[in-house]
């Protein structure tokens, strides 16, 4: 079993409740990687017997630190329409809420479609780039193969402020794993906090809210398989303890699989 599947494994307990546990392969400096927390919350809706369609929007709010070990997830379909379904989810430990989430699922119909944003052009292929050096980083980072085209995590945190925080990176699960909605939700949180890129200062950070829009449907994800996706990530503003960053995740045919936004706390 791939460690990601183990990390998002949930066992129904009663009604809308399931039980899971943090997985050491996705440990962060403290508690689990936020991407797996987002994936677990989405997974609770994905595997719910009342599920309709596929996810189009997911928001996860990280309310408190999650301790290593077991947790409970509640997933409730609060409204089911003909072609959309609205979910609320919560992750608790010892009856204290540690994360909340909402999701919108939809049955898509084939309609007029068009790209508007575009990926950067003429990029080197992933195999032509070196694997990012991940020694000394938390366990979860080793569960991704990252090849930076631009804006790698700095080798040294030397306080040399940069003019911008943009990164362009090919990224996939490590070991390779066919892309699905849960793993795409986690990938959206795999980009290092922009405040580290911008300031080259390792201030304490924590994502407080993460929103992902899924532009891909299941066939698009299946077509991408286990090949790297292209992430383009940038911040918009850093102010008094909070910054936002936005990511685009492109398939290798240049189609937008997901757009993702997050608001991140930073200490100083």
């Amino acid at each position: 079993m791939h460690p990601f599947d183990a990390a998002v494994e949930l066992t129904p307990t009663h009604d809308d409740y399931l039980r899971g546990a943090t997985h050491p392969a996705y440990a962060n400096m403290v508690g689990p990687f936020g991407g797996t927390t987002a994936a677990v919350l989405l997974q609770a809706a994905l595997r719910h017997p009342a599920r309709l369609g596929d996810p189009v929007a997911l928001t996860v709010n990280f309310a408190a630190p999650i301790g290593d070990g077991a947790f409970d997830v509640q997933a409730r379909a609060v409204r089911t329409n003909r072609s959309t379904q609205h979910w609320t989810m919560a992750l608790s430990q010892d009856d204290h809420v540690a994360a909340t989430a909402t999701a919108v699922f939809a049955k898509r119909r084939s309609t007029w479609s068009a790209p508007e944003a575009a990926p950067p052009r003429d990029l080197p292929a992933p195999h032509a780039l070196p694997e990012a050096t991940l020694a000394g980083r938390p366990a979860w980072v080793h569960r991704y193969d990252m090849r930076f085209v631009e804006g790698p995590l700095p080798d040294a945190f030397d306080d040399s402020e940069q003019p911008h925080s943009r990164s362009v990176v090919w990224v996939r699960d490590e070991p390779p794993r066919p892309l699905d909605f849960a793993s795409l939700a986690a990938l959206c949180d795999s980009f290092f906090p922009r405040v580290w890129m911008r300031r080259r200062t390792r201030t304490a950070i924590g994502t407080v809210s993460l929103t992902t829009y899924f532009h891909a449907d299941a066939p698009m994800l299946a077509a991408q398989g286990d090949r790297p996706v292209l992430g383009v990530v940038r911040a918009q503003a850093f102010r008094d303890g909070y910054f936002d960053h936005s990511a685009q995740l492109w398939d290798d045919a240049g189609r937008l699989l997901a757009s993702s936004h997050q608001l991140v706390y930073y200490r100083e």
Copy 2:
């Protein structure tokens, strides 16, 4: 009383529950303007006696049409930390959930801060631009003074597909009203759906999810007062019934007040 204040007025009923009503001044083609719905849900947390700090993130999911008339709002602080507070909200009519929301509030501390995105430069001032022609549009549109620098709502829906959907617009409440968190939340939904701009076809649309990050604190909003803010709005991808658009709202000193994202359903 400004019609916006009337539209977001809520009366506590019991515990975490409040009662409000749609306001004809903010009527949309069907039901109320989504921006006032977002503002009402935020307002329920803003005026809650347990409130800590100011909003930094808000997500609203529009689950079902809202009928003209009374509604109930529940706002619950699910987790209060030392400097952050996590909220879940829901708006119901006749015990059916019509919208859900989550918010993160925070007490900010003064820290290293920096812009990263920048507003367009050398723009004409709002008073140098004509007021947008709003005749024939729903009531809520008349509650905003819009001056388009670029990408106005087309005069004719003539099916002439455009290469992009970007708009740049000075916008303020009409009549003028000092900016606050609730009105900023509503302003974030005042930009016309990008699919209309892009295709010049008036397909049926509906926002399903709206996320706003507040970069401004209360003093920044107070400093802006009732002067127009600058909106820069663009779509990223239109695919099989859903598109996303992202907006930046700048104060007239070029500081980012809010960044906002939404996923919108379109019929064909």
